[in-house]
Amino acid sequence: MAYSFSGGISLKTENKTRALPTKPFAEPALVAVPLSGCLPAVSAGDFVDIGTCIGFGKTEDCPPVHASVSGTVVSVERRPLDKGGEDTFVVIKNDCRHTVVSGLDPISKPLWEIKPEEIIARARNAGIVDAGSGKSLASILRAAVGKAKRLVINCTESQGYESISYRVMAEQTEAVIKGAKLIIYALGLRKADLVIEEKKDKLIAKIEEHITDKALVDIKQTTSKHPISVDNRLIYAVYGKRVPLGGSPLDAGYVVIRPETAANLYRALSTGMPMIHKRVTVSGDSIKTPLNLIVPVGTSVKDIAELCGGTKKRFKRAVKGGVFTGYAVGENAVIEKTDDSLLFLSSVKAERSGCVRCGKCIDACPVGLTPSLLAAYGEKGLYSEGLSLGAEHCIGCGCCAYVCPSGIPITALIKKTLKEGRTEDEQA
């Protein structure tokens, strides 16, 4: 019996990219690597190799950033981000020689001679970021020391297009399991659970071949309903523990990471290579050839679209972060370490009428809210009423707006309630 939760939605469309093996894409002419708050370590005209550190982290929780291609730094510039705010980007012109920086320091000694702190320090220096939580692996691990009880590798992808976790599990099974064991060791945990959606029998059989000790690494199967891939939902579905409002799964005693992060950690220790590549699923209804790609961090949306045969005529917008929870990006946006997917979507229209009070949104809400009322409050500007109905529990999964027969942008209205309501609170 697969673990499940109440509410949510089952998508009927099949995720076709799951069957596509990952292809490397190493030759973008230009990359613009976002520094995510780091201080630039290079300036225009400098020559960088693959793996050269181009951004220093100011704090322990802010890991360094490395060059993802070899070539010349064209510029270091501030650019606005599509999700809001701005960031420093190091733009590198690719010389296609693939020269790797010297002095990479793989660990060759056996596991029991490595100190737990060394693993965390290495995770930081390799600049590993977990796409699920958007945090650096080092900060996740450091916060979890002494607090966590179990490691959870969240392999679920419920938004209909993403398939990188599936591909990582199929192609890098060994690396994921070894990475998971490294984390268990570093945190002094007893067990790691690989949480996978049900009915992936072939994949599960393959993973089971690689698992040597079931007491140490085990598989747990969940429903494939959206939003199972949201960490807090997953923890509630599998372990029955509620994460307190505003908290992370760690508050319930679980460290949750994506399988790619575990594989990256193992690679960083065994080869010394920092995180410079990101796996992304390129899909959507208006891209000609959907692909699973490994791209250098900083590859632009435009380059990826060209590689995938270009966009179809009906193409309207590119979306990062999933079709349910993502945001629209321009063609100059780049792939960051936190991006799992890049979707090219056509314009979607929904029939619009007044709320018919059908209650479908209430049935679909995975956290038990009354989205229709929250939307009505949001529309009228009654933000404090919305907050008193529990708006801040909203996880933004988008199920309510998906099922709404009146086409009300419920999710967006709740987000508005949260934004405006909080400003009201601050002013009061």
């Binding site: 009428s353 009070r357 049935d363």
Partner: protein, 325 residues
């Protein structure tokens, strides 16, 4: 119909719109319509067409007069027209569905803001309006054989009327009559006679997930249990309860009217409370009300309480029903 281009997440929509839901309700009503024409003749069809025409035209005119975008294409007016016609006897004068439809849309639905904003079910309010204004029309029904002989186009008709079976169930009905009541071979309102067609519609609506089971199940089971516990007349309790369920408009109303999303509660718990309320009130109105049929007023009264049921059952932060990450 107006469409919204999606600009924010989620960048995807399930594709089921209000008009798709209404279309499903119309499909679910078709078996009852076919049966009514078969059993009562073409006058039933004339009444239905006039009622639908009246509701749709009233909505069009109202939208024009108030300079709003026309909402006719969401098909809710068609559903209202169909349900109103199904609640009328085949002997009703032809101006009646027109008047009732105009009242339902022009007074009960649109002035409150149209689909989703009305607090009473328009079709049922239309029927109540006609019932109060012209009680004579509803005092008896033409038997199927008489009805088939009626002219489809005569404004008003004279026919030999038989009292509805609601009175007869107290004296006891035999098994053959019960079977006739189930298939719909009886005198009564156009769309309400055939329980078989209503069950077909119910199954379709449930399979298509247009309605949820709570309201019809709560409604009918409470009604049945109460009728069984407090039977009237000399008949045995079981027989009386089954006959009560099969006569009048309770079956039709519980499936097609009480489940109207606009005028019923939103949460599952609320729907059960509402169904229980409707079932209990229907029996009370039947036993103690001046009108013969109880479902109409029972549902209208329950409609007015929906706001409070919703308030009671909507999960709240402090109530801690099931909110939480």
């Amino acid at each position: 119909m107006s469409k919204r281009s999606i600009k924010n997440a989620p960048f995807i929509h399930g594709g089921v719109g209000a008009s798709a839901i209404m279309r499903d309700v119309i499909i679910a009503l078709i078996p009852a319509l076919i049966w009514s024409v078969y059993i009562f003749g073409f006058r039933a069809l004339t009444i239905t067409v006039l009622s639908v025409a009246s509701t749709v035209l009233t909505e069009l005119i109202f939208c024009k007069a108030t300079k709003k975008e026309s909402t006719v294409s969401d098909l809710s007016a068609v559903v209202t027209g169909l349900i109103l016609a199904f609640c009328l006897p085949v002997t009703a004068p032809l101006w009646m569905p027109i008047l009732g439809g105009a009242f339902a849309i022009g007074v009960v639905k649109m002035p409150f803001g149209g689909l989703g904003k009305n607090f009473l079910n328009p079709a049922l309010a239309g029927k109540a309006f006609l019932l109060l204004s012209f009680p004579k029309v509803f005092s008896g029904y033409a038997s199927p054989a008489t009805a088939r002989g009626l002219s489809p186009f005569a404004i008003s008709v004279k026919a030999k009327l038989v009292p509805s079976l609601l009175g007869a169930v107290e004296d006891g009905v035999d098994n053959n009559t019960l079977v006739d009541m189930f298939y719909g071979n009886m005198a009564g309102c156009i769309g309400e006679v055939s329980k078989l067609c209503i069950i077909l519609g119910l199954l379709y609506l449930l399979i298509r997930r247009v309605i949820s089971w709570q309201i019809p199940v709560a409604y009918l089971s409470v009604f049945f249990i109460l009728a069984f516990s407090f039977p009237r007349g000399m008949d045995e309790a079981m027989n009386f309860a089954i006959a009560s369920l099969l006569c009048g408009s309770v079956a039709f109303a519980s499936v097609f009217v009480a489940t109207d999303p606009v005028t019923s509660p939103m949460t599952s718990v609320g729907k059960i409370i509402y169904g229980v309320l409707c079932g209990g009130l229907t029996l009370l109105f039947r036993y103690f009300g001046s009108a013969e049929e109880g479902a109409v007023y029972a549902i209208l009264v329950a409609n007015t309480l929906v706001f409070y049921i919703d308030k009671l059952t909507c999960p709240k932060k402090s109530g801690g029903v099931k909110i939480g990450n």
